[in-house]
């Protein structure tokens, strides 16, 4: 039967039980038990603000009584529930609720602020947006120590992946006694699917040049190098034009702003080796040697390029610097989280509706990036995982959708920030196949110096290939884990130390998929060709012969008007039959 009134009591408050009991007693007394329902509930919705005491809401009137004791109950029951007169003295006046502020924009553009706005080939367009004002301020009014103080206050950390505090890096290089000192901008952005740095170099090159000039002033360098991969011809062309203009206007060169400070920049092109994004390999490459990492220590700040003190940061780190010096360290530190300040650019790729480049304050959740900014998963499929930090990062599963994106949180789930790759995978992605893809990449890019990385990644790839081909054996998963750990510990640079990450993280979160491949010879996502089978549903097949006519290997038998059958021993799992079937009779099993 329907009740004419309902009373909801907040069960979280101490004393709620007593109030509940009192209501039942009073209602019994007045013979209202059949007309009024009393319910205990955890937390009350509706109007008004929760108090520390026992609150109750009477519906359908939506009257909220606050801080109730059992003594109040008799009055409420008699006056309100019997006679229909709410006791206003026991209610809470509805507080003046200020209108909600508009939702804070998820994206905040600091590094990307000028991109899409200014003409990168016109230095005056950059100057119109306060360009080179930070350099002017620094050179004419600040000491290097003051610049370092502002940076320290800002909390800026290296945006290339490791997240080392920028002010410390600069301090080390500044305190190194040897001269000359060098400055390097790492623009060797090699992570598959990542193009944040390219966009900055192509859209706002002067911001990076200005940041570098400030860094040079702080550490005392007179020569700097841009190291940009040759696969970025448009970035290089833009940068070259920007350097020419900056030189013409006197922002780089001799006696900048009449302060006697000299600084010039050159471009060096990388020849395509992924490992050259590693700082020691990168410096060897600039020196004209083979791009292979060397041991640290000595760190670049002590002995870097040509054995001289060197500061190396990535494109995004430098691009942040002018803004921080113009607007102050506090402004920058007001964005982001406790330990990860400011904003970060990410390249959103994969199975998401809006792919592209974003910049968000650190600490936004993966869910906000995927659903609010990325627009959700393509074709409204289910989110499965996100791979952050490029081929040395880890895959983060659905259960961590609400994880804040910052240096610590990503590390806590076995991934890294990296330079900002953000590859989103849906339910149709096979995690073993993904791990194999990344292992194939790092195996290819291993420079070969350290045996665990050179041989180990090869062996791991072979095992993964076997698993995907249906030749997986019991013990493979354990072997992968063991080898992964050994490679991490036995490699010199970040490439080897991170190479097993995609495999280890997918084993950690998607072990069942590995097991399905090995023990059941099934690919749950129906991706691995050796483990799937195309079949014709005889109930649905209309015998139109279209599949048989389109099959490239003649694996389908069947006469017109008869049920067709696919021979799995001939079938190459190309999927064409499924695409052409007019009645959707063919599916993957």
């Amino acid at each position: 039967m329907a009740y004419r009134a309902n009373i909801l009591i907040n069960s979280d408050a101490p004393g709620a039980e007593a109030v509940y009991g009192a209501f039942l007693d009073e209602l019994q007394e007045l013979a209202l038990r059949d007309e009024v329902q009393v319910l205990m509930t955890s937390g009350l919705g509706g109007q008004g603000v929760a108090t520390q005491g026992v609150d109750a809401i009477v519906y359908p009137d939506s009257v909220r009584y606050v801080n109730l004791t059992p003594d109040d109950v008799a009055r409420i029951t008699e006056e309100h529930l019997l006679k229909g007169r709410p006791i206003l003295a026991l209610t809470q006046a509805a507080p003046e609720v200020a209108p909600l502020p508009p939702p804070a924009p998820k994206e905040v553009r600091v590094v990307l602020r000028n991109i899409g706005k200014i003409n990168p080939f016109d230095i005056e367009d950059y100057i119109a947006e306060d360009g080179y004002a930070a350099l002017a301020k620094v050179l004419t009014t600040m000491t290097p120590e003051q610049v370092l103080d502002v940076l320290k206050q800002s909390g800026l950390r290296g945006r290339g992946g490791a997240g080392f505090p920028t002010h410390l890096k600069w301090t080390f290089a500044r305190n190194s006694p040897n001269k000359p000192k060098y400055l390097i901008c790492n623009g060797d952005e090699g992570d598959p699917g990542a193009f944040m740095n390219r966009s900055v170099l192509e859209g706002d090159p002067h911001a990076v040049i200005e940041g570098m000039a400030i860094a040079a002033y702080v550490i005392g360098a007179e020569q700097g190098y841009f190291y940009v991969r040759a696969e970025y011809p448009i970035a290089i062309r833009t940068l070259r034009a920007a350097l020419e203009q900056a030189r013409e206007y006197g922002f780089i060169g001799k006696d900048i702003f009449g302060t006697g400070f000299d600084f010039d920049l050159e471009i060096r092109m990388g020849a395509g080796a992924f490992v050259c994004g590693e700082e020691t390999a990168l410096m060897r490459s600039i020196e004209g040697q083979r791009g292979m990492p060397t041991t640290r220590p000595p760190f670049p700040a002590a002995s870097g390029l040509w054995g001289q003190p060197t500061n190396i940061n990535n494109v995004e780190t430098y691009a942040n610097v002018p803004q921080i010096l113009l607007k102050g360290g506090e402004w920058f530190a007001s964005m982001g989280t406790e330990k990860s300040k400011g904003t970060k650019t990410f390249a959103i790729a994969g199975k998401v509706k809006h792919t592209g480049l974003i910049e968000v304050p650190l600490g936004v959740t993966i869910r906000e990036i995927v659903y609010d900014i990325g627009g959700g998963i393509l074709n409204d499929k289910k989110f499965k995982a996100v791979q952050t930090g490029g081929p040395m990062g880890g895959c983060i599963p659905e259960q961590y959708l609400d994880l804040p994106v910052d240096y610590q949180s990503l590390a806590s789930v076995g991934s890294i920030m990296g330079s900002g790759g953000f590859v989103i995978m849906d339910e149709d992605t096979c995690m073993v196949d993904i791990a194999r893809f990344f292992m194939d990449f790092v195996q290819d890019e291993s420079c070969g110096k350290c045996t665990p990385c050179r041989v180990g990644t090869r062996r791991m790839l072979e095992i993964l290939n076997d698993i995907c081909a249906g030749r997986g054996q019991p013990g493979d998963i354990e072997l992968l884990e063991e080898m992964g750990k050994s490679i991490m510990h036995g490699s010199l640079c970040g490439l080897g130390a991170g190479a097993p990450n995609p495999v280890l993280s997918t084993i950690k979160y998607f072990r069942h998929e590995y097991e399905a491949h090995i023990y059941e010879k099934k690919c749950p996502a129906k991706v691995c060709r050796a483990l799937i089978e195309y079949k014709v549903d005889p109930e649905l097949c209309i015998g139109c012969t279209r599949c048989a006519r389109n099959c490239p290997v003649d694996a389908i038998a069947g006469a017109p008007k008869e049920k067709h059958v696919i021979d799995p021993t001939i079938c190459i799992r190309c999927g064409i039959c499924k695409q052409v079937c007019p009645v959707a009779a063919i599916d993957v099993y």
């Binding site: 899409g116 367009d125 100057i127 706002d204 970035a235 702003f257």
Partner: protein, 118 residues
């Protein structure tokens, strides 16, 4: 560059020039020409825009370029500003759309809402 004053002067000049480009010219068309834009066909879009303006004998429309701001799904991205009105961003502007935009928005002053990216 020798002093703050010199920098300030250039900034004022640049801002002035920007305004003039908006005032003196009838409209401004900005094509995003980063790698993502070019990969999606921004060079063709740019060429068609220049050709179309020439064909119609229009010389008071400023055509410039900028970087690709990140809306990769919508490249090529073209921004159009007529007079001092709002700058409108359009997505997926291929050659056909570019011609229509010149006709409808630049010359006709009518925003083509269905291609707009917000």
């Amino acid at each position: 560059m020798k002093s703050l004053e010199e920098l300030q002067k250039i900034k004022e000049r640049a801002l002035q020039r920007r305004k003039l480009a908006g005032e003196g010219a009838r409209a401004r068309i900005v094509v995003a020409m980063g790698t993502t834009g070019i990969a999606a066909g921004a060079r063709d879009t740019m060429a068609v825009i220049l050709k179309e303006l020439e064909k119609r004998g229009i010389s008071d429309v400023v055509v410039t370029q900028t970087g690709s701001a990140g809306m990769s799904t919508y490249e090529p991205v073209v921004q159009v500003q007529v007079g001092n009105s709002e700058l409108i961003t359009y997505g997926n502007v291929d050659a056909n759309r570019a011609v229509t935009l010149i006709e409808k928005h630049v010359l006709g002053g009518e925003v083509v809402a269905e291609w707009q990216v917000k």
